[in-house]
């Protein structure tokens, strides 16, 4: 997409907003629609746009595969560990009440952690799935077209 100047400029303009929006959705999920999953998808979408316009190799430089390899499990691990934290602090699994000084504070902290875990895993999985699909080329068979 070397010649698409308009596209490149508009995308460059748009991507920061998408990332911001993803953060907004991630942390505003308590009040409005949205949450970790949606934020993760939007974050991944911003990345996909970047990869589409600037090429996947550039995108891989920004988010290398070995980093993704750790991000994919990190979110799930964070979620599970939040659950174990409930046990460690004397409650049940995934019991957020015990995480904070008051039950409500604990709930807030728990939800924050958990949603963050969801966001990380979802965005990392989506990006790596896209990379896997887009990074795979095949010999172009003309008759298929």
């Amino acid at each position: 997409m070397r010649h698409h100047l308009v596209l490149r400029v508009v995308s460059k303009l748009l991507i920061p907003f998408m990332l911001l929006f993803a953060l907004y959705v991630q942390f505003h999920g308590d009040f409005g629609p949205g949450g970790g999953f949606q934020a993760g998808v939007i974050f991944a979408a911003a990345f996909i746009l970047y990869a589409l316009v600037f090429g996947i190799d550039h995108a891989r430089e920004v988010l290398p595969e070995h980093v993704l390899r750790y991000l994919v499990p990190a979110g799930l691990a964070l979620y599970t560990l939040t659950g174990f934290a409930g046990i460690a602090l004397g409650g049940k699994y995934l019991d957020y009440d015990v995480l904070g000084s008051t039950p409500t504070a604990g709930q807030h902290l728990g939800i924050l952690l958990v949603e963050f875990g969801v966001g990380v895993t979802v965005s990392a999985v989506m990006v790596s799935v896209f990379f896997t699909f887009a990074g795979r080329t095949r010999d172009v068979d003309e008759e298929d077209w």
Binding site: L76, T80, F84, K92, Y93, D97
Partner: protein, 496 residues
């Protein structure tokens, strides 16, 4: 933290935590070691759970400390403790065996991912079994199903048909799961709850509701797809035949059992078999289908050349036995189902393990390729024979015990023909097992095949553990029948 207070959740949460860790582990041995450790840990958990509930009580664990209908609850009673034992036990036995087999069948740089998928599958199956929440069943069912598709497709390195098998499985499995969700949604619509115990309380007054009837139909159809109930079995033979050996062992022994458990749970706990509309469905739909599965599965198995496929078809027939017991809805019938659930895991586990060994040594598992192999791999084939005998139902093996109860149940109802059909299906099993024995023991080895050694000990020992379990639980059926008795009491006694 007291281990005993949290066993129920640790059973599922530990493998779930291990899965993301496993991806990060480098090399081939560490992922395997982690998976092995986790499997044994879950085995310990399920033994503890079974010991706690075998008195007839049940354990409840409230996730997030929310009381049941609000939050999700784990509830363990005799039946799911038994299924948990089957799943974790097979996993614990299969993993020592897995190392060489996986090294042989999976690309070296994919072992971490492969074991992660395996751990997720284990998590999913355990999660489905232990949970007391209808929607949670769906979520964990999908964890196990998705990882199963991946695991089956991993067999593509040796045979590309694994891919098409995985695809078919994916489509049918997803349709099945979606049917199940639809059924749960209908139930939620009329009761306002998802908790299984709560559902069981709120459903009886609604027995006449058409919504409940439709919900029953969808749950049965959905689970029927997942457990390969005839005629919804089409995905199974290829999926089992072309999956990597470890996956076949694990799936054949556990995945369908868990689905059978879910069906039992829904038919007997949630709906209660006394519901006016359920009895005719069991008697006129499930029962004939089960009989057809029993006979047709065995007949098709006779005509198979690929041994893995042969035993896959035999699995369809064996699922027929389980469904038959379920459909008979009597104490002995249910006992037979519960016993067979346990026993079939032992026999199929042993059989597929042995075949995995053959695969390792000669790279093929067709009738022709095992000709004369018994003299070269005596231990493997001895175990194979034990598994085969158990499959037939020879006295002294576990297969006999469950079939005995099944025939008893048929005779109790005065259905002599049915009893005869059960015996006939067993005789069909004799034919295909004999074909295998004949090829391996009586026919000469082909000239162009190099002589091979028997399986290495780290694979033989797990195989023989299962083979001996087939005999042990066949001679001393006390433990299993007492658990089955508790289950049956809970289902038929307190089910109103």
């Amino acid at each position: 933290m007291a281990f005993l207070d949290h066993v129920a959740i640790l059973q599922v949460a530990v493998p779930l935590l291990a899965a993301p860790l496993c991806v990060m582990l480098p090399g081939r041995h560490l992922p395997w070691a982690l998976t092995l450790a986790v499997s044994w840990f879950t085995l310990v958990c399920s033994i503890v759970l079974l010991a706690e509930v075998s008195a007839g009580g049940s354990i409840a664990y409230h996730l997030g400390n929310w009381p049941p209908p609000i939050g999700i609850e784990y509830r363990v009673d005799a039946i799911n403790a038994l299924v948990l034992l089957v799943v974790s036990g097979i996993s614990a036995v299969a993993l020592p065996y897995a190392r060489r087999s996986v090294e042989h069948e999976i690309e070296p740089d994919r072992h971490g991912l492969f074991y992660t998928a395996y751990l997720l599958c284990l998590t999913g199956l355990l999660g489905v079994t232990i949970t007391g929440d209808a929607f949670n069943i769906f979520v964990f069912l999908e964890i196990s199903s998705l990882s199963t598709y991946v695991l089956v497709a991993a067999g593509a390195r040796l045979d590309r048909r694994a891919l098409s098998a995985a695809y078919t499985y994916l489509v049918l499995g997803t349709v099945g799961a979606t049917f199940f969700v639809l059924g749960v949604g209908l139930l939620y619509m009329v009761t306002g709850t998802l908790n299984i115990a709560d559902l069981a309380e709120r459903l009886p007054p609604l027995a006449e509701s058409r919504v409940v009837q439709a919900a029953f139909a969808f749950v049965v159809a959905g689970m029927g797809l997942k457990l390969a109930m005839f005629p919804l079995h089409t995905w199974l033979p290829n999926a089992y035949a072309y999956a990597p050996s470890l996956v076949t062992v694990f799936l054949a022994a556990t995945a369908t059992k868990v689905s059978v458990y879910v069906l039992l749970r829904f038919v007997y706990t949630v709906f209660g078999h006394e519901f006016a509309f359920i009895e005719p469905v069991l008697a006129w739909l499930v029962l004939p289908l089960a009989v057809i599965a029993m006979l047709a599965g065995s007949v098709v198995a006779i005509h198979q050349d690929n041994l893995k496929r042969m035993f896959a078809w035999s699995s369809i027939a064996q699922i027929g036995y389980m469904m038959l017991g379920l459909a008979l809805a009597s104490a002995s019938g249910l006992t037979a189902t519960v016993l067979h659930l346990f026993n079939h895991a032992l026999m199929k586990g042993a059989l597929f393990m042995a075949l995995g060994g053959v695969m390792l040594r000669i790279g093929a598992v067709s009738l022709a390729s095992v000709r004369g192999l018994a003299s070269e791999m005596p231990w493997t084939f001895a175990a194979l024979v034990i598994g085969g005998l158990s499959l037939i139902g020879v006295p002294g093996t576990v297969g006999f015990v469950s079939k005995w109860y099944l025939i008893l149940a048929a005779i109790e109802k005065g259905w002599w023909l049915l009893a005869l059909l059960i015996v006939a299906a067993s005789l069909l099993a004799v034919i295909y097992v004999w074909k295998l024995v004949e090829a391996a023991y009586l026919q000469p080895a082909p000239q162009d095949r190099e002589r091979v050694r028997d399986m290495p000990p780290d694979m033989l020992i797990p195989l023989w553990v299962l083979a001996l379990a087939n005999i042990w639980f066949g001679i001393d059926a006390g433990l299993t029948t007492s658990v089955a008795g508790t289950v049956v009491n809970a289902f038929l006694g307190g089910g109103s």
